[in-house]
Structure formats: structure tokens, C-alpha cells
Subunit: 332 residues, 2 copies
Amino acid sequence: MNPAPDPELALEVLTDLVRTDLEACNRLIVERMQSPVALIPQLAAHLVAAGGKRIRPLLTLAAARLCGHRGQRHVALAACVEFIHTATLLHDDVVDESALRRGAPSANAVFGNKPSVLVGDFLFARAFQIMVADGSLRVLDILATASATIAEGEVLQLVTQNDTATTEEQYLQVIEGKTAALFAAATEVGAVVAERPQAEAEAMREYGHCLGVAFQLVDDALDYSASQAALGKTVGDDFREGKITLPVLLAFATADETERGFWRRVLEERDQSESDLDRAIGLMQARGTLQATITRAREYGARALEALSIFPDGAERRALAGIVEFCIARAR
Amino acid sequence: MNPAPDPELALEVLTDLVRTDLEACNRLIVERMQSPVALIPQLAAHLVAAGGKRIRPLLTLAAARLCGHRGQRHVALAACVEFIHTATLLHDDVVDESALRRGAPSANAVFGNKPSVLVGDFLFARAFQIMVADGSLRVLDILATASATIAEGEVLQLVTQNDTATTEEQYLQVIEGKTAALFAAATEVGAVVAERPQAEAEAMREYGHCLGVAFQLVDDALDYSASQAALGKTVGDDFREGKITLPVLLAFATADETERGFWRRVLEERDQSESDLDRAIGLMQARGTLQATITRAREYGARALEALSIFPDGAERRALAGIVEFCIARAR
């Protein structure tokens, strides 16, 4: 597998490759988020206009093309994937009390928590309406199951929050749910819509799953290492909320008694002072846990590339391979 | 149409009539709300154990039987209806900041807003998984559309809150969305699962729709007239939140200048003192707006009974007719 030479460009390469489909998908997103209740498109547009990278719908579009789909069904299903993603973002920001999303004030900060919850519900329901119009029970099954798994991951994240006894296994379950489930569904739907054999649908799903896990691992490392501008959200959010992510988990596992006391105070009791984030980052660097998290992401990235290997070489496969490197390279 | 002689007994009559189906439905609800993430069934059980009347799934079960359905598909679909209803209750209570639900502390009060939002999402997704397993795209369409309409109604309610310029038409749009949409879907699904001609599905839908509007009109009157024990939630909730319901709308429309000043202060500015709820109730009684709201509910009730008239007379039709009177009689 030869990914694109410059990972920074990989997203552009993928976007260019499916540009016509993506534009059709974007038009459909705007069209289907309309409602006689004006606040719904207003709030939805706030998030859409804030300019996500559209990674998930791009994955559906490219996967369908890689699998030889020649029709247009994948466009509507890519929009469903983005609607479900947007709905979970709206609810996440309410749950996390986030003030920033994609570098702009979050919807809950601008419009309040209440409409964010309800517009999330609307987008979720609308996604299912679009899937019904498409008419594939298999697609409906994949995305309904992904939606349930996302919610389970989010609840588990809430339960393990502020609990330094959280295991790596639980952490993995959280990120497989909250992030990898939709990546996996997005790519699997691409193969399903192309009516490919089960083995290809499974390979596509494996690619998406591993990519999603790698993506979230990098995200969790970035929360302690990125500049705020690069992250598009507040740095140290996870720390302030006491989320038990892999960099923290590994630092706690190798900590001495004094350090454990520090982690318990800041994460469990959430008794944090100004300098605590810097100290946390210092401990992580000393133990190499941010690097270890990226190494783990690279392992998942390699599995994602391996899953792609059953597909014919070509522009689509190279673009999807490039996205793996793109997701990991964000950590530089 | 001869409804059951005693409206108080109508719910028992309906429940008895489909008891075996309802018990199967209740078992399925408990079974399908399970998750490896223990907080999900814990929180869901809190609401299930708080003992709703199960009106919506009862409607699906009875409608299917009235339409001659002999299989068991309606049991799973009745569970879907209840899951969607429970999901909206969880999100409503977060949005309304409610402390009580069905006479017990609300889930958000016990578990917090965050898990309430996420468990609502889980139940919603799970409902769609069950529908996919049932395999009817038409049923999926009905319930996906109802879910989108519910969210639209809830957002419109939020937008019109604290706005005394809200029209009767907007109010009707709110309650058709937030309440009647799921009643209509619940009964329509019963006819659809029985594979009856379109006219019967439409009649069933009309019955559910009118029953839902009547139900909500009565609910909105009860918020100003019931005892807290009978209502199972805090009396005056709508007033405190500045919700513009029909009793308020009619009182404002016929108010003199002093009274308008009062309504604006308490509902728009939400500047309320201890005695304001009593004054509001006094004004409503003087103008007969609570009674007018019940009269409107009776009109919808009559339309619901009319819609039933195309079905053969028998225990099911009589039980469904009785439910109309039951919903309205709560206002006594």
C-alpha cells in the first residue's frame, strides 16, 4: 500500500476525487435540514456552516466508488451519515457543556441546550426518513445499530469519567462506540450500496472501524498537545472534564504514589488549579504516554490499510489509504 | 357509537382486552432496553417502573386486533412506539427542567441531564433496530416521520414559549407535533401490520390523531386545574415556564389592558410572584377558557369516534371508543 506522499494533502485528494458526489451530498444536506420551524435549519446551518471536514460522508462516497457503485444512492446515504454525526455532535456538546466546536462557538453556546437537544433529535429522525426513501433494510440496520452503539459508547464515557480505575478495555469500548461505530457504518454502507459480496462489505467495515479508532486515539492525544487553533476546540477540555483517555490511563498506570495523588485530585475530585494542566502534560511527556497513544493509533492505521488490500489498486484505494495517514499526521 | 359506560374504567377495559399482547410487549421492552452499559437499563427502568399507562402501545395493540391482525408483529411495533415515547419524555424533561414525571422524580432529576439525553438517543436507535428486524419499510416510514414531526413540534413549542403573540394555529401545530403525531403513528401502524386497505389505515390514523389532540388539550387544561396527585407532575409547570397553551391563549385574546399586562409580565418576562398562578387560574375561570379548551377536546374526541365508525362493531372498537372518553374525562 502506498499512501499519498503528503498526508496533509490526503483530505484534499479524497475530496477532489468525489467532488461532484460531495457537492450533491452537500446540496441534499441543506435541502433535507429544512423545516417549517425556522429555528431547525438555522441551528443546523450553524454547525454545517462551521465547516466540518465531512470525513464520514466522504468515506461513504469513496467506499461506494471503490466498490464500483455507479448510481447515486450513496449520495443520500452519505447525507444520512452526516446527519447522524451532526445529531451526536449537538447532543455531545450539551453533555460536555462545550463552548467551542470546530473553532466557532458551539450550537448550545449560541442557541442554548434545549434547541440543541431537539434539533439533534430532528436530524436523527430525518436521517432515518432518508434511509427509508432509499429503501434498503440492510443499510437501515447498519445505521440504526451504529446509532445505538454510539449512544452506548457515550453513556460508558460518562460512567467512566472521573474514574481513574477505568481499564484500557473500557476506554477502547468507549471510543469504538462513540467514534469508530459511525466510521465503520459509513464505509460499510458504501460497499453495501454497491451490492458487493459480504467479504468486501466486511473489509470496508474493518477499514472504517480501525480508521475511527485511530482517529479518536489521535484526538485524545491532541487534547493535551495541540494548539487551540489547530484543534478547533478548547485545549485541555478532556482534562477539565476528567475524561479518562489513553494518555491519562497510561500515565496513571505507571505513576508513583505522589503522581497518583495528583491524578486522583485533578480527575476524580476535579480539584484543579491553573498550573495543573501543564503538570499533567509534563507527566505524560515524561512517561511518553502521548507518544504511546500515537503508536497505538499507528497500529490501528496499519490494520485499516491491510483491510483495503483486497480492493483493486486505483485512485479511490490510494485516497482512502491517504486518509489513514492524514488522521494520524494531525498529531504532529 | 356507544363508548364504555364508565370512562374511568375504559383504560382497564382496553388493557384487559389485549392483556396477553401487552404482557408480551412489556417483556420485550425490558429485554430490548438491556445493554452491557448498566446505566442504560437502570435509567430506562426508572421511567418504565414509574408506571406509565402505556396508552400508545395499547393503541397499537388494539388497532392491530380491530383490523384483524392474527400474528405477533404488532407486539414488537408497540414496543417501538413506547421506546420512541420514552425517548421523547427523557429529552422533554431535560428541555423543560422537570423535577417530576408520573408522580415520581424525573430521570433527569435522579440521574442528571447528561445520561437522560444519551439514554433517550439509545432508546430511539433501539426502536429503529426493532423496526428493521420487523422488516416493513412502511412502518419505518410512519415512525421515522412521526419522530421528525415530534421534534418539530417540540422546537416550535420552545420558539413560541413566552410569546403571547402565539396564534391558535401555531399552538395546534405544536400539539399536533409533540403529541398527536405519535398517537396517529401508533394507531396507523396497527392497521398497516394487519395489511388492511389504505382507507382503514387512514381512518386509524385519523382516530389516533384526533385522540392525541384531545389528550393534549385536556393535559393543557389540567395543568391549571388538576390536583398534583392526579396529574402526576407539578401543577402550574406550563405557567412557570411561560408555555402558551390554549387556556392561556384564549384568556389573553379576551383580556382587557390590565389583564394583558399581567399575562405579559408573568409569561413573557416570567416575572412571577407566589399568588400569580392563582390569579391566572381566576382569570381563566372568569373567561371560561379551561372549559372552552375541554369543549375543543370534545370536538376532537367526536372526530376520533367518527373515524372508528368504518370498523366493525365489537369489543376492540368499543374499547378504543372508550379511550376517547377516558382521555377527556380526566379533566373532571
